[in-house]
């Protein structure tokens, strides 16, 4: 499936690099235009109505989020391009947005393009960007949303709806306040990193719990915690101290 693409990137070398690799390794992508700033990027997007925009996060005179804010509607997929893991990465991960790191890894680029191609084929709604923008605009940490990718699609939940998450091989089970349970196709480690800035704590190798929903601590070697849904979660001895510290 053909994808119309636009590259927004301030550095010429990077633009050329990305263009070259897309041409060479992503044959279904046609780069219609290349912009070197938010302003030129906006014009290009409006002009070409692309399927996908390769968007550098840091640029002079406004960054990627400035560009997105300027748009009424985001009806294209975005592959963020960034030089290094910075503050934006967490937001991207939370909304399960696609991104590649510079210097560009061709494999990574190919995978990202493939995913977008697949989405396009399936006719998926493009809602990551909306959630991403929500999360970025919403400074209240408790109202932030998380995208939980599943076998058959995505589930968007409020972070404060999650009671706990439990590891299940390379998947993760999420237990929510509404009693629902989701099997998510990412590791618990991934979510531990994402949710640590919220009130989540990894009490066990296999358990990540929301502190808000702990109702009781049961003493023991490591002990256990009882959650608001009456579920009981083991606490490993090495995490016990950290857990108790959080309640002080």
């Amino acid at each position: 499936m053909e994808l119309k693409a636009i590259i927004v990137e301030d550095e010429e070398a990077s633009r050329i690099t990305l263009n070259n690799y897309l041409t060479k390794y992503c044959e279904n992508v046609t780069v219609l235009d290349m912009a070197d700033s938010v302003q030129t990027g906006l014009i290009a997007i409006q002009k070409h109505n692309p399927d996908v925009v390769f968007l550098d996060i840091e640029m002079p005179y406004g960054n990627a989020f400035d560009l997105l804010e300027s748009l009424d509607k985001v009806d294209f997929e975005i592959i963020f391009v960034t030089a290094y893991r910075d503050y934006a990465i967490k937001a991207l991960n939370l909304s399960a947005a696609y991104y590649i790191l510079k210097p560009i890894d061709i494999d990574e680029l190919v995978v990202a393009v493939a995913k977008i191609t697949a989405n396009k084929k399936a006719g998926e709604d493009i809602f990551h960007t909306k959630i991403l923008m929500d999360n970025i605009k919403n400074s209240n940490i408790q109202h932030k949303k998380i995208v939980l990718p599943q076998m058959d699609g995505f589930e968007v939940v409020n972070v404060n709806q999650i009671i706990r998450a439990e590891a299940n091989d390379n998947y993760t089970n999420f237990y929510l306040t509404n009693g629902k349970k989701y099997l998510v196709s990412k590791t618990l480690k991934h979510f531990d990193e994402l949710l640590s800035e919220f009130d989540f704590i990894r009490v066990h190798k296999s358990h990540l719990v929301n502190l808000q929903f702990i109702t009781k601590y049961i003493k023991g070697k490591g002990g256990q915690v009882k959650m608001s849904d009456e579920s009981i979660v083991d606490v490993s001895p090495i995490r016990k101290k950290e857990l108790i510290e959080r309640f002080r």
Binding site: E11, E12, A13, T17, N20, G62, A64, P103
Partner: protein
């Protein structure tokens, strides 16, 4: 650290405070002590003459005005005791002893001599040995013969030691007398013989007289009348030669007594007649009267009362003339007896009555004498009492002195204890200070180590953006399949990174090396932004860049800032000028860009961009702070706006502080 230090300081002041009070105690008390001591021991040598003078005056005055004499002695003693002048004190006691003796107060005399001797002995005034004779005499008078014997013996021994002949004789005679009184006749004779021997040897007639007399007494006591009379005669003969009538008469009396005891009236009459003749010739009226009585006694023995009466009347007549009541009384008594024996009862009674009257007046006379003597004695007693008071005083003062001495000892002990205390306190203080210092130092060292650690972590950072961007550039060459460019760029980048990494291990690197890094960095940045700026890099050739050391990566962040926040946003091509100059021991690095300037750069940032902070300059600020903390280095950074646009950064490094590598 500050807490520990505060404690140490607190303890220090506490100790200091207590030390001060101790010091005051120490100062005051012994000072007073010293004063009170000096009061006693001072000036002893200023007044002895006065005491001696008084004693001499007393000696002279005694005969005429004994009371005044005693007062003088008292005064002298007072001075001597008060001023602790022992010789004078002893002298005073000695003189008192003499006075006592003369007033027949032998007990007091003995005591005072004893005191004098005690002091003499203590002080080693051995030259004064006459006093042993004196005290012996007092003891003898008190019938304390054993002590008398002791003192005389010592006296004799000292006299022999000094080869003083007359004293030796005196000693022998005195000892002889004591032995005689104790009926130790053999010993007595030995001493008298010794005395006679000495006197004969030195031809001292008077001495010979006495010695013979004494020998006579010994023989008399041994009932060797014949020998006794011989000695008496011998004494008498010598006495006659020197006209010593007293001794002559003593001999007559003694011999007469012997005859009387033997009831040898013939010899007695003959002897007394001889004596009478001698005394008449010598005009010794009193003796004549006495001889006449003795004569009369012997006549009565022979019942020759007429001659007796005649002799007695003769005696009375002489006594009347001389007023010798004693002899008259005796004569009258014997006369009464003679009348009685001759049957003249009336006469006898009349004489007896006369005798009684005479006895009475004699008694009264004696009483009067006794009274006056008693008066003197009382006086003496008063004086003695005063003296004993004085003595008590002295004892008291001695006690006081002793007390003061003990006090001083205690004081000294106290002071030494205090010294020990003070020293130990000082020691403790020193230990404390050292400990505090060590703690402080170790803390400081720890601090420094920590700072160094922070410094290391800070300078290890090259802006990751730069690194990734550099790698991007390489990637872009790869994507263009420009093998040569990719390789060149990678090589340059590698060289830069190698230099940065190597030098990040050092606290200081040579300016030359820093210049290498900067030019490499500029080259790479320029390659990336070659459409944005051109640059120049100038180094003053007079700078010895190899010998001058600076903290690594000190200047790079300012250049980075100029490119990224100034030049990069500029519409036209900008210019970056980096220059390193030297003036007045100061190295000045100037980074001038004609970019958009700090203010505009900040304005251009959108809300979304402001979230991201610039770490480069913060990093260098911390580094500069730590570097100047640890190395006391002088580093000045000035950032100001360039005209018309852009930024000027001036980094001034005081050369002195960085000239050596081992700072």
């Amino acid at each position: 650290m500050t807490k520990q230090f505060t404690y140490a300081l607190l303890a220090f002041f506490l100790l200091l405070g207590s030390n001060i009070t101790f010091g005051q105690d120490k100062k005051n008390e012994p000072y007073q002590q010293k004063r009170s001591f000096s009061k006693i021991s001072k000036s002893s040598y200023q007044k002895p003459n006065e005491a001696t003078k008084k004693l001499k005056a007393a000696e002279k005055l005694f005969k005429s005005e004994p009371e005044k004499a005693l007062d003088l002695v008292h005064d002298a003693l007072l001075i001597a005791i008060k001023d602790n002048y022992l010789k004078e004190e002893a002298d005073a006691y000695k003189l008192l002893g003499e006075f006592n003796y003369k007033l027949n107060e032998y007990n007091l005399s003995y005591k005072n001599y004893g005191k004098a001797i005690a002091i003499y002995n203590k002080q080693g005034f051995s030259s004064i040995f006459e006093i042993y004779y004196n005290i012996g005499k007092s003891a003898e008078k008190l019938n304390d013969y054993s002590n008398a014997n002791n003192y005389y013996s010592r006296y004799l021994k000292l006299a022999k030691g000094k080869s003083n002949k007359s004293s030796q004789v005196k000693g022998h005679i005195a000892l002889g007398d004591v032995y005689l009184k104790e009926k130790e006749l053999k010993a007595a004779k030995q001493h008298y013989t010794e005395a006679l021997h000495i006197e004969k040897k030195r031809d001292n007639k008077q001495g010979i007289v006495i010695a013979n007399l004494k020998l006579g007494e010994v023989e008399e006591a041994r009932n060797n009348d014949k020998q006794a009379i011989q000695y008496y005669r011998s004494s008498q003969n010598t006495a006659k030669q020197i006209e010593d009538d007293q001794s002559v008469n003593q001999a007559y009396t003694n011999i007469s007594n012997i005859y009387e005891n033997q009831r040898n009236s013939n010899e007695g009459i003959e002897l007394n007649q001889e004596a009478l003749d001698y005394n008449q010739k010598r005009n010794n009226q009193s003796e004549v009267a006495a001889n006449s009585i003795n004569l009369a006694n012997f006549y009565i023995q022979q019942d020759n009362n007429e001659l007796a009466i005649q002799s007695l009347q003769n005696s009375i007549e002489i006594s009347d003339k001389t007023g010798d009541i004693a002899n008259k009384s005796r004569a009258t008594q014997v006369l009464s007896e003679a009348y009685n024996k001759s049957g003249l009862a009336e006469e006898a009674e009349k004489k007896y009555k006369e005798y009684l009257i005479l006895e009475d007046s004699l008694y009264k006379m004696r009483e009067r004498q006794l009274k006056s003597q008693n008066l003197k004695g009382e006086m003496l007693e008063n004086a003695q009492n005063k003296l004993s008071l004085l003595e008590k005083d002295k004892q008291l003062s001695e006690k006081t002195i002793e007390l003061l001495r003990q006090e001083k000892l205690i004081q000294e002990q106290f002071i030494s204890e205090q010294k020990v205390l003070t020293y130990s306190l000082i020691l403790g203080l020193i230990v404390l200070i050292i400990t505090a210092f060590l703690v402080y130092r170790s803390n400081k060292a720890k601090n420094k180590a920590n700072q160094l650690l922070v410094l290391k972590s800070l300078r290890a950072q090259m802006n990751p953006h730069f690194i990734f961007n550099a790698l991007n550039s390489v990637n872009s060459f790869i994507s263009k399949s420009d093998e040569r460019a990719a390789n060149r760029y990678l090589a340059d980048f590698s060289r830069l990174m190698r230099d940065v990494m190597e030098n990040s291990q050092e606290d200081f690197i040579s300016l030359a090396k820093e210049i290498d890094i900067l030019s490499m960095y500029l080259k790479l940045e320029h390659h990336r932004f070659n459409d944005k700026f051109d640059y120049s890099f100038e180094v003053d050739e007079s700078i010895n860049t190899e010998e001058f050391f600076i903290p690594p990566m000190l200047i790079q962040p300012y250049i980075e800032n100029a490119v990224w926040h100034g030049l990069r946003y500029k519409k036209e091509k900008g210019f970056l000028k980096v220059s390193i100059n030297q003036s007045n021991k100061t190295i000045t690095v100037t980074i001038i860009d004609d970019g958009i300037g700090r203010e505009k750069s900040q304005e251009l940032k959108t809300e979304n961009q402001k979230i991201q902070k610039s770490t480069g300059l913060k990093n260098i600020d911390s580094r500069l702070k730590i570097i100047s903390d640890i190395y006391k280095a002088k580093l000045d950074v000035e950032i100001k706006d360039n005209e018309p646009t852009g930024t000027v950064v001036t980094v001034k490094i005081l050369q002195e502080n960085f000239i050596k590598k081992d700072i």
